[in-house]
Symmetry: C2
Subunit: 223 residues, 2 copies
DNA sequence: TAGCGTTATAAAATCGATTATTTATCCAGG
DNA sequence: CCTGGATAAATAATCGATTTTATAACGCTA
């Protein structure tokens, strides 16, 4: 292997897409605001065409809204939308986790342990938030990876991005954070024990608690 | 109301997006083939920029594949992918139907009856396939509309488009078609009776039979 | 003649400028 | 004053041309 670590990072359009996606999920844009295209153009130092192509993709993905002759807009944070996203996460990740536990092999077990360990290590370094986020995303992805459905995984990833928009807006909540972090380990334990029912219940609780945290991120926006 | 029947149809980019989406779902492109951008440009009589923006959106939506420096490609028809799509349809539409039956009000009942009636009428006119397809899509959309989750509806729509790519490739199957058409009416009956279990079972069977038909569309492509 | 580098061709991606549309500004009439 | 309509400024959308990258064609060497 080697070369094909692409995914769009070769082209300007692809690079700016990745960057913007990150920045949108991390709440670096004001929710509800219009996207000033020429400002972005300056800020990221890219041309108009690749930028617009990226914006179009992001709109189709759901991280931007597109209005006919008036450009793009960062979706506003809305409590009911967060409810929707969280509930869908419970449904779909529960489903995916059950299947992953059914189908996951020994290799999966190893990767899962590794991902959980990396995440736990990152828990202790509060300054490297971005790295923690990366590992957190990766852990959850690993957890459901062998569910056998690319569409299910796709939907879950999309919901994660949406959910994280809210969570990353929310203020720190160290006590809940500790519980959530502990649950990652417990999820691994239950997965390795192939305890479907237990794992689903815990995942349900995990999302529910995360929702409580994220909810405080929706408060800043309109309601 | 009146003016805002937009959705993108005002702009060239939006129009070509709608057109291409239709044409992709209806199998007017050879699965697995590369998209000849300049050919499309000629054929639809549009400029390069709006066309590329539309292609980018379609790729994000899943009706096209995008490879880094080599443009766009129509996804090939693959049996396992169809399996995935069909199974997801069963899961998600079952879920949505259950909620729709819970939350749907009297207005929904009326619209559902109307949609089913329109579809039944269209059954009898075999020449107007496109109109039938439109009404069929609309019927299924109406059925699950009041489920209360915009994300669930969004995923279902996406899966429908994917599924229809296969189904529209498949040869006619009049005997199965009759059963499927009858099931639309039965679904309405069960929905009005608020028979959640019965409706879900029937929906499951409906998708399963449609899958059997669509499967013959996947045969033409590679496997 | 089977590889392998080189050049020619085709296609994708991007740029810079133009056109169309919306939004803001200003002024006249009620 | 407030409202509505015309004009000006700003922004979105599109075009035509250029640059970059991939693919095909070719000829050379072993």
């Amino acid at each position: 292997m080697g070369i094909s670590r692409d995914k769009g990072r070769t082209t300007t359009s692809g690079r700016i897409y990745d960057t913007l996606r990150q920045d949108l999920v991390n709440g670096r844009f004001v929710a509800g605001e219009k996207v000033a295209i020429s400002a972005l153009k300056e800020y990221y130092g890219v041309g108009l065409s690749p930028l617009r192509e990226a914006l179009n993709r992001l709109a189709a993905y759901g991280l931007l809204e597109q209005e006919s002759q008036r450009g793009f807009r960062v979706p506003r944070l809305d409590r009911r939308e967060l409810d929707d996203i969280a509930e869908m996460r419970r449904e779909l990740e529960g489903m995916a986790l059950e299947r992953a536990i059914r189908f996951g092999d020994a290799e999966w077990e190893s990767e899962l342990l590794a991902a959980a360990h990396r995440l736990k290590r990152a828990d202790m370094v509060p300054e490297a938030v971005d790295e923690w986020e990366r590992l957190h995303t990766r852990f959850h992805r690993t957890l459901v990876a062998p569910c056998g459905s690319v569409w299910l995984l796709r939907f879950i990833e999309q919901l994660h991005d949406q959910f994280d928009r809210y969570r990353r807006m929310a203020p720190e909540a160290p006590e809940v954070r500790r519980v959530l972090d502990a649950q990652h380990g417990e999820l691994v334990t239950l997965a390795l024990e192939r305890d479907i029912k237990g794992a689903r219940e815990l995942m349900d609780d995990h999302v529910r608690r995360s929702y409580e945290v994220a909810l405080k991120g929706a408060m800043s926006g309109a309601d």
